[in-house]
């Protein structure tokens, strides 16, 4: 069956598409006919992306804005009325496995992605599809950790997608037709793409997954109009490049450091911030002596060229899979320009984003891998925290104190909210030979035998002190991200399937809905025709909620 031909790109267009095409070529008719068809999709310009905050009814990029705050100024749904939230519609992808998308909403149309590189455009008021696309993936892809995709980017009349077979694609936002499709890298080397790209000016910036396969990570930029690659920044420096000396022998060639979460952007200094994952193999440091730059790092890049301005490495020579792939959130504090990151290694870092210097790092979850800091205040690993053949219990566990699920920063409460996982694991080594495209971790891990079960919490952190202002306890570790809104609300989900609205100041739950399956996504919000909706993916469905 391996050789049997697979159907090519599949796509279903509903009549609504026709309606749209006609309408957008006849703009005058729109007002008159708007009851018949979804609102028209206006061109999303680079300027609109810069000013995303000025159109809170839309959600124009993965984290809502370039600062990565996942915060909305919409306040129709607020702490006074959240208790009356009700489901509005659900869209079923019918895909299996985890559904991690954060949809975009542009002028009444919602664009999302699903399992196995599905893409869909829906009328954001009803959830009824306008077009659907699914990539014909090769049969032999083996992406680590699920056949997932976290979302799209948009510019002009195109939406952009990274695929599980490591392609970067543009689809026509009106029809779902493929506008261009380029190979970023051969997926058979263990590469895949799961993140939502970030558009800056005319460039589509994207990174790769594959830290479990001994890849050499990179971040790419493609011309949004043509798909032509403009630059590539290798997250593992090659011979002659600074940082190359932090790798033993040839280990850099398979050094990992994938960049698999969407970056952020500061237009004032014209800097884009990206984060990277583990060095390979993830749980065995033998054979790759050195700091292993730029694994588990924050990178400040010039968007036009991919030139590195500075870097900050969170976990040097990591042996616990402490990927730094959490959205680096840009926050202003007085005259300070900061990056806040709650890292998978259990520390909450405050970094000066002008020069990359650490301001402070405080634990926000249980940490045993580090008990000291270097002169700069960076937590450093204990010698005896390394995985051993018999196994060594370390906190946080292999999935981390948090992971890819987005945090949020609320400028009203000035609090940073993050999903924390309290899980320790036993890390053991398993020397594994490298073979291209095959698993290459060098390890195994097990949940340890602690009497008490693992838990989790949504924590509100005060950035200036690192103190936890309040926490909402989860019965078990969860993979839901967090959204905050000007309505004084924080939204998040849990592994038991609840989607919850909490008071942003107090952490008190105001409302919840049982989605019937774990939430594996970060929520977002939008408005159409003056009505605010909150959306989250759970199970195989995208749910939306609004006031009655």
């Amino acid at each position: 069956m391996k050789n049997a031909s697979m159907p090519h790109e599949s796509k279903s267009r509903l009549l609504a598409t026709l309606g749209m095409a006609v309408l957008s070529s006849l703009p005058i008719a729109i007002a008159a006919l708007s009851f018949l068809a979804p609102p028209s999709s206006a061109q999303v310009t680079a300027q609109r992306l810069l000013d995303a905050g000025k159109e809170p009814q839309n959600w124009l990029m993965y984290s809502g804005d370039y600062a990565g705050r996942r915060y909305s100024t919409l306040e129709q749904i607020n702490s006074e009325n959240a208790a009356s939230l009700a489901p509005k519609w659900a869209y079923q992808t019918m895909g299996g496995g985890k559904f991690e998308t954060t949809p975009l909403v542009v002028d009444g149309i919602l664009y999302g992605t699903g399992q196995d590189d599905r893409v869909f455009a829906l009328d954001a008021r009803s959830g009824r599809p306008i077009w659907q696309y699914q990539r014909a993936l090769p049969g032999d892809i083996r992406p680590c950790c699920g056949r997932v995709n976290r979302g799209l980017a948009i510019l002009g009349d195109k939406v952009f997608l990274g695929t599980l077979d490591a392609h970067v694609m543009a689809l026509d936002a009106k029809t779902g037709n493929v506008a261009w499709d380029v190979t970023a890298v051969d997926y058979r080397g263990g590469y895949s793409i799961t993140l939502a790209p970030l558009v800056i000016k005319n460039l589509v910036i994207i990174g790769v997954s594959g830290g479990e396969y001994g890849i050499r990570g990179f971040i790419d930029a493609y011309d949004a109009a043509t798909g032509e690659r403009k630059w590539r920044f290798y997250t593992v420096p090659g011979p002659g490049e600074p940082g190359h000396e932090t790798w033993e022998g040839d280990s850099w060639e398979i050094g990992g450091a994938p960049a698999w979460i969407t970056g952020t952007y500061d237009p004032v200094t014209n800097t884009t911030y990206w984060t990277t994952g583990n060095p390979s193999p993830s749980n065995r440091g033998e054979g790759r002596a050195g700091d292993n730059l730029y694994s588990n790092s924050l990178l400040a890049l010039e968007p036009e060229t991919g030139k590195l301005k500075w870097y900050f490495q969170f976990s040097k020579h990591d042996e616990h899979d402490y990927d730094a792939t959490q959205v680096p959130v840009l926050v202003e504090q007085g005259n300070k320009h900061l990056i806040l990151q709650a890292n998978r290694n259990g520390f909450f870092y405050v970094i000066d984003r002008v020069n990359g210097k650490l301001i402070n790092a405080n634990a926000y979850a249980k940490v045993t891998w580090s008990d000291s800091k270097d002169a700069s205040g960076t937590p450093i690993a204990r010698k005896d925290a390394s995985p051993t053949p018999e196994g060594n219990r370390v906190c946080p566990g292999a999935a981390g104190a948090t992971n890819w699920m987005s945090p949020t920063y609320d400028p009203q409460t000035k609090l940073f909210y993050v999903t924390a996982r309290e899980q320790c694991d036993i890390f053991s080594t398993a020397p594994q030979p490298y073979e291209a495209g095959h698993a290459y971790y060098g390890s195994a891990y097990f949940p340890n035998d602690d009497a008490a079960p693992f838990t989790g919490a949504l924590r509100a952190i005060e950035p200036s002190t690192g103190k936890i202002k309040w926490e909402w306890k989860h019965p078990s570790p969860t993979w839901s991200g967090v959204l905050s809104t000007a309505g004084g609300l924080v939204f998040s989900g849990d592994a038991e399937g609840n989607f919850i609205a909490l008071d942003a100041a107090s952490g008190k739950a105001l409302w919840h809905f049982q989605c019937g399956a774990s939430v594996y996504a970060s929520p977002m919000t939008f408005a159409v025709d003056g009505k605010q909706y909150v959306a989250v993916a759970a199970g195989s469905a995208l749910f939306t909620f609004a006031l009655p």
Binding site: M1, P7, Y213, A495
Partner: protein
């Protein structure tokens, strides 16, 4: 059309069983194609008895499976002991391949590539893992030489296990159904469950997308109107708890409406010490559980 593609995927997964497949095309025509057998469709492990392949399989096993099945495949908190020659879901090479590739639907055993832990394996790597499992398989199962029929008498009689446990439809419902425990759990685990039940609580419902299954914690609630119930937690989320009381009545409570709720990891099962259950009788019960587990 996405549905077409999904259909093909499922067929690919099962193609060593279904050698031809029918697909409803976009044009609504039924097209049947004979699927060429591939390496995938093999019945026998091409690496049988190959020590090097078994070693490679061990690495794969540690990365992908040990999380649940434990180091050395002797069973962990979440997955059964795989060192027994007799496997519930089939012991032949091709049956093992199917179990590992497809998972066991409705249980925590995931299909290849769909684990939270680890990455998917190639066909070759699955065969290597099978070589590894064969290499750790215990030839003469280290089963206690107990008397299963006496064990059955104790289970339903003086040891009173059946007041709380069901086997093949007979018995109580407070504790987990033990019909398959004999094959799913290591002997050590079963012995520990009787001698020291609180040390590790049994796992209950495991929802498809949830990482950690529910455990049989002990719960005591007092309702708003003062009624008190004690039992085991069947399913709990932040807002509600579903429990079975000691009289086997099912309850659902909204936590914020309760006067009190206390949970404990002290099992509701009594610890059977050697005075109340001799080592010999315990061996007999274990033999009975192993016997029914193998059926």
């Amino acid at each position: 059309m996405p549905s077409l593609w999904i259909g093909l995927q499922i067929i690919r997964r099962r193609d060593w069983l279904i050698r031809f497949s029918c697909v409803l095309t976009a044009a609504a025509m039924l097209v049947c194609a004979v699927v060429a057998p591939s390496a995938f469709a093999q019945e026998k492990n091409p690496y049988a008895g190959d020590a090097k392949a078994a070693k490679l399989g061990e690495f794969q096993f540690r990365a992908n499976c040990a999380f649940c099945h434990g180091l050395g495949a002797r069973g962990g908190g979440r997955g059964p002991d795989l060192t027994r020659a007799q496997k519930r879901h089939g012991s032949s090479d091709s049956e093992l391949f199917r179990t590992i590739n497809d998972g066991v639907p409705g249980t925590a055993m995931p299909p290849n590539g769909a684990t939270q832990q680890g990455v998917g394996m190639t066909e070759e790597e699955i065969w290597q893992v099978i070589s590894y499992i064969r290499s750790v398989q215990v030839k003469a199962p280290a089963q206690p030489m107990g008397d299963a029929s006496h064990g059955k008498q104790l289970f339903y009689g003086s040891a009173a296990c059946s007041t709380c446990h069901m086997i093949q439809g007979k018995g109580g419902r407070l504790g987990p159904d033990l019909s398959t425990t004999g094959s799913a759990r290591s002997t050590d685990y079963i012995v520990e469950s009787m001698r020291n039940p609180s040390r590790r609580l049994a796992q209950g419902i495991s929802e498809a997308m949830k990482e950690f299954s529910q455990e049989y914690e002990t719960i005591t609630v007092v309702t708003g109107d003062g009624q008190k119930f004690m039992g085991v937690v069947l399913n709990e989320d932040h807002f509600t708890v579903q429990m079975m009381d000691t009289r086997e009545n099912l309850h659902l409570f909204e936590k914020d409406k309760l006067r009190s709720l206390e949970k404990s990891r002290e099992s509701l099962m009594p610890a059977y010490d050697p005075k109340s259950l001799s080592d010999k009788d315990l061996q007999d019960i274990v033999a009975y559980l192993l016997l029914v587990g193998a059926q």
